[in-house]
Symmetry: C2
Subunit: 115 residues, 2 copies
DNA sequence: CCCATACTCAAGTCGCGACTTGACTATCCG
DNA sequence: CGGATAGTCAAGTCGCGACTTGAGTATGGG
């Protein structure tokens, strides 16, 4: 919602399977728009729209040479998503570590009941 | 598309910012449905629907004790998404390594590169 | 026992996002 | 030049997904 817009756009972009398919193919190397479109049983125009979303989210960069637009993956975008996920997971697993501490030995003095 | 359904569901679930907000709060610890709902300016029913999506995607597990449903993060779900991203990024960066080899020198006769 | 709590369920609304169509522009090549 | 290729743009359709409302069911505490 009123989130960090970048993360928002990235995860929204990743939420569509056609867009993930595009990312998947681009991870093997740069491709033109029509090359990307071929295996995708949607129209070229739809692919262009997906590419707009991907580019605005920072996951893909494109450059037009002559009449062909070349698209490549921009891995830093993927990094942002990865970091977000790793972070949440980290926090969660950290809790288990603390639980381990609690079980291991009596904590100095701290009492506050919750759930 | 007709993708691996699990990855599909996970990224679709992550695509909504309210659901990510739920994940974010759950990464700090387990919470009840109504506790999750409080900061979210949507109705309880909407939160329950989000939780259904999260649970079906394997990102969250819930258990009902008495009248309260306790929700906790299921980090393996996050792991699946992380792995997918790391994989694509890996493929892409691997390409640059190969490009580096090519640029480094005209391959003598055999090449055995290791960073 | 009774009221509040904590959900649950079924409908129904509504806007947005994915996709198409059709017309148009720019570039390459023979 | 002319035709084919590659992409662009603007509208418009349509279904799905997020959300609400309202009524119903257990559970727990005083």
């Amino acid at each position: 919602m009123l989130n960090n817009g970048a993360v928002d756009r990235i995860f929204h972009a990743l939420g569509d399977s056609n867009r993930r398919a595009i990312i998947e193919r681009l991870s093997r190397g740069a491709l033109s728009v029509s090359a990307l479109a071929k295996p995708l049983d949607i129209t070229l125009a739809a692919v262009v729209q997906h590419l707009q979303v991907l580019e605005e989210s920072g996951l893909v960069r494109t450059e037009k040479l002559g009449r062909v637009r070349s698209c490549q993956l921009h891995p830093e975008g993927l990094r942002v998503a990865e970091d977000w996920l790793a972070n949440r997971r980290g926090l969660w697993e950290q809790r288990f570590d603390r639980l381990g501490e609690l079980l291991d030995g009596p904590v100095p003095s701290r009492k506050k009941a919750r759930t």
